[in-house]
Symmetry: D2
């Protein structure tokens, strides 16, 4: 039976950071309906306050990912956000440029349904790029160095747009955007197989994201949203191969059963989160990356749950997976693998995976003056 | 080479009817954004006018499925709808009770996120049932005899609700609802594997719909929405088995590649529509059902396309599939099947599937004074 | 933090039984290749010996599912199997009639590719039914009361066989077979979406299995093979609904990521096994079934691993899931559910799911003189 | 209504070539059973004779892909194959190195279950590479310039092998293999998400194949097997992006509904084949590739059908899709796309897709003295 070296884990968690998405703390909706009530955060003030609460109850999430224009549409708004974060003892994380809504420009918005960077309309492509440049400014204003680009671009039928125009437009725009970035800044390219487009998506999988990221240059890398895969995709292998290719930029964590379901991370398939962190630790142990340089972020949307509760649960599930993955001895594992000793290799993995990491987490919380039972401490 | 007996087809199409959904003629959105413009129908008046246009250009779609409270929330509203339909020379088809939005009751709406008929709150379940009774009244007011129930009910995590309570509540409520129906009226029970619920859905597949339909009684049968299946599901086999069990009530047609994508029917996979109609014709030829008693309906949502264009295309694709399926000679097919002569059986199917049915459709349009090229006749 | 009442678990495991498949202890292959060596069991003697080993190291698996003609093709063979089982201190479990291979009859075999019970050839259908009757005889000879029917029947193209003939033939044959059974005997009807047929399968999902099982009569119920589902299927909900309908007969456990992968149960998705047992316990607590009357069986195939190792791991994973599910307090859970208190409900589930059940398992092993570390005790 | 310029098509088909796989003309099996009879080809002589028959009845398939050691395991065998091809008026196409069976070496075979190029055993990796070198020799002996590598390599559990070792071994071996090739020779790298490995595959998707192909050098490109994708993958987009990146090497055509089902190409989803050829023609029209330089091959396996029949049907379906795709006017299509005129773009696509290309095919057959009805001309 595995003896869990809890103290070691405590230290380890200290080095770990995970970002909380500002947009994930408001009540989300489906295409059918959004059920708002008075019980969940709504304004940016309330959402940043909720982020602080997540940090308070988990010890992580001091950094908040932002989404513009949802979190503001002027420089003044962004300065206000900065102030709010400071007040709550938090800091800004990655900046997400929302490319499907630019509320300030109704005429543009209507044509955004044909895509943003892949739009057949040159003026739309230009306006979108300008919006992204603005987001880069705001990123700097917020002392952040990470821009995230998720393109909601694609088509709903074969023939609506040429795959070749689609490819060229993404490549060209990304290239221009990357030119705007400074050396220490980075852009993470996100992929997604479908939704909102339901036939073809401009950046539909890790392979296409990789090809764009490689074309764009050093400052670009790939963002893995765990829910953005076709059924059956082996996410940890994608993580491994991206690490190997030095193109892994970060994560959007959530859980999913059918599509981009945006459920609480690890709520249905905690083993997958464990395998992802085990793969990251192995990449780190082999010198392929420093796992603390990867951007870990939650990206969820809840139309039923209290979003703050759900966010805390996600952070907790990530912490538990992170801890358990720390129990794998890669030297031993590798030696089993070299002998084709599957039984031995599995025992190594199973032992870590089955361990209950809650005692270690509790100890770490106590050491860091974090309430050990947030459910009691927090009334829904 | 197959010689298409076009005249025969013309007669055949005369007997066919397909319903147009009032809600499918307005601009739809995704959970991210809805891009409305002035170019598409919005009010119920405009949408019914658009339905008339679909009828005008396709010769089908004289019947319009309605959705309450989207199309009205009072008896007066419904009377107005009735008048509008008459004015346009149309009639009401199936009545859909919207169970995720009951705008008249904000307090209720907030708790609707926990489900409608499966709600843990008895008063919510009662209110939902009352809304359905009201829809039944309106159905009668509209001279319709078909009620469609799609429950947006389910859960986002294991444990949120017991599968047993979920089952019992659906069964109990459906039973009470069925009691309200008169002999000549029917209720179609729709199933869907996910969305808006992303872990479990109360009526998630044809098997569960069948078990509820059988429990409820004679007036209930199953509605097959072609987009409401897990990847890989054999929809035509489900249609066949439901026909065999005398439980096939009707269809919501659309096309999908990933999830409930609500694309133009037959735009990506026209062969599936062909196989569905071939299966229906075979069921008819075996006396299992009268294929003209089945309710054929379109159910689509378009956030990019002009919805009226898309609806016309869907009707056209259904007409073409219907025509081509008429070319299969089931006696000959059966004789190949009895001899395990796969080559022969396939030739019979291929020959019908590959035939271009547009000449037959054109002839039928000419005979019925329908413009032969709606794209020219209609400016987007 | 949950305090695991280990002693209670020990008692609980005593009541649990799980069957080991004779065919899962030999080296399996893929359609490409089978890599046999001297290291794994091959003959029926060796495989029963391996089953005894599984029992020895896990305390479960005293019952062995058999597969005919793989495990014998004459009454003498079956008597020999009976003797072998007795010698090893084991007993016979469910009897599986293999319908895709009847080696004694080469002419028949060739035509079996068109299906067994759905064959277009009446003489093939008769011969298959005769083989099943023989299996029923052998079942009695082995003091077993459970017959399992998995039909490898289906088609590879639309048109190869009518869905209606397919349905009728299955229903008619099952009816005749059920007539052969005595009151205390039962037949479990297995479903599978594809493989070996790749277009349509005669019994393709739980809904179709349910409709056959209901038609056939009291002695028939449905067998759930965890790997026999389309991507995304909610297996525990199927288990719940089948329990509710009093039609759950048993399980074939294994794990899968893509198709019917037949991997070690719980090796990739242990949470699903936990949810299945939690659902069973809830069904039991509500009086819907006695969970100890359900037939639990492993069904795996390993072309790389040592099959006995893999079988032991599966039993262990089932035991751990079984134990953890025992920690859920359904009264408490239900009270959260009634209040729509999702946070509370999840906490109840999470707490059980995250618990490391290995100490309890170890204690039970010690009490029952079972080696606590089978990997050490057993050399690959 | 589209007026099909049949004569033009005839000329066009003259330039087209598609390879027939020697292994696809024998009776295949599933992992459960293989049903051989006297009615299908078995020896290499019979299979090459069947290939000639395919050519005779379709006018295509003059080139035959070979698979070693299935089609021979010595230089003498290969010379015999060469002679057989000449006798039948055929020529050798791509050479496939079978990496899961090397019958000449039983000891090796047993360990091949742990993988070929990713094997933990250096001597296995060396032997596999030697076998590939031998295949390169034989390729030259056959006047072929194309080597196809499909690695049946992967794992059945997390931990069995490190993703990093997996990646490195594939990259290293491919590099060495590519060094063996001459300037005018090429290697096509095939990907597959699962089977025979059921957890992770070394080259699992187009992205991983692309990364290996790019690393290896100029002579490597990617092979798209239409059945080697996760559910929902947009194959024509992958084809488009690979064309754009100048990394599309060739195709293995077949149809599939669930997994790598190896059904008759275009039998279930003919529209996908049409979209693939339309995408290729567009790539060609943009100067991204010469579509006649791409290797088109069939790769099917039939355990029920007569394999020669099935092969002829596949070639016919490819011919029909090829012809129909020739009707798309890309200039017109592009002009609709630039105006975001979806209705117009779809009309362009629909018109081509719905056209019955059989008259054009018939005309071409008559011009080339090919029987116009192979089903009549050939008795099963």
């Amino acid at each position: 039976m595995q003896d869990l070296p809890t103290s070691a884990f405590g230290d380890d968690l200290d080095d770990f950071e995970i970002e909380i998405p500002s947009w994930g703390l408001g009540r989300a909706g489906t295409r059918f309906e959004t059920y708002t009530s008075d019980s969940e955060p709504d304004t940016i003030e309330e959402r940043i306050e909720a982020a602080r609460e997540v940090y308070e109850y988990t010890g992580h999430g001091k950094t908040v990912s932002l989404h513009f224009p949802w979190d503001g549409s002027t420089r003044e708004d962004v300065e206000a956000v900065r102030g709010l974060l400071e007040t709550e003892g938090l800091r800004a994380g990655a900046v997400n440029a929302n490319l499907f809504t630019m509320r300030e420009n109704a005429t543009l918005d209507d044509r955004l349904r044909y895509g943003s960077l892949i739009s057949p309309y040159p003026d739309v492509r230009d306006a979108v790029r300008e919006h992204i440049y603005e987001c880069i400014d705001w990123m700097r204003l917020l002392d952040s160095d990470t821009l995230i680009l998720w393109l909601p671009d694609g088509t709903n039928s074969f023939g609506q747009l040429s795959f070749f125009d689609m490819y060229d437009r993404v490549a060209d725009q990304l290239d221009e955007i990357e030119d705007e970035l400074r050396d220490e800044e980075e852009v993470l390219v996100e992929y997604k197989p479908f939704e909102p487009a339901f036939y073809a998506t401009a950046i539909f999988d890790w392979g296409s994201a990789l090809s764009f990221s490689e074309a764009v240059g050093e400052s670009a890398s790939v963002l893995v949203d765990t829910g953005h895969h076709l059924q059956g995709a082996n996410v940890e292998q994608i993580v491994g191969y991206l690490s190997k290719l030095d193109e892994l930029g970060g994560f959007h964590f959530n859980d999913s059963k059918y599509a981009d379901d945006d459920l609480v991370t690890g709520s249905l398939d905690p083993a997958e989160v464990f395998r992802i962190f085990t793969t990251l630790r192995e990449a780190d142990s082999r010198g392929l990356l420093d796992m603390h340089d990867v951007s870990y972020m939650i990206d969820q949307a809840h139309y039923v749950r209290d979003p703050t509760d759900a966010m805390i649960e996600s952070v907790e599930n990530v912490q538990l997976a992170y801890l358990r993955s720390g129990l794998v001895d890669f030297e031993e594992l590798h030696s089993y693998q070299q002998d084709a000793d599957i039984k031995g290799a599995e025992a190594e993995i199973y032992s870590a995976m089955r361990t209950d990491a809650r005692p270690a987490l509790k100890e770490w919380r106590e050491e860091n003056d974090i309430p050990t039972d947030w459910r009691d401490a927090r009334s829904e």
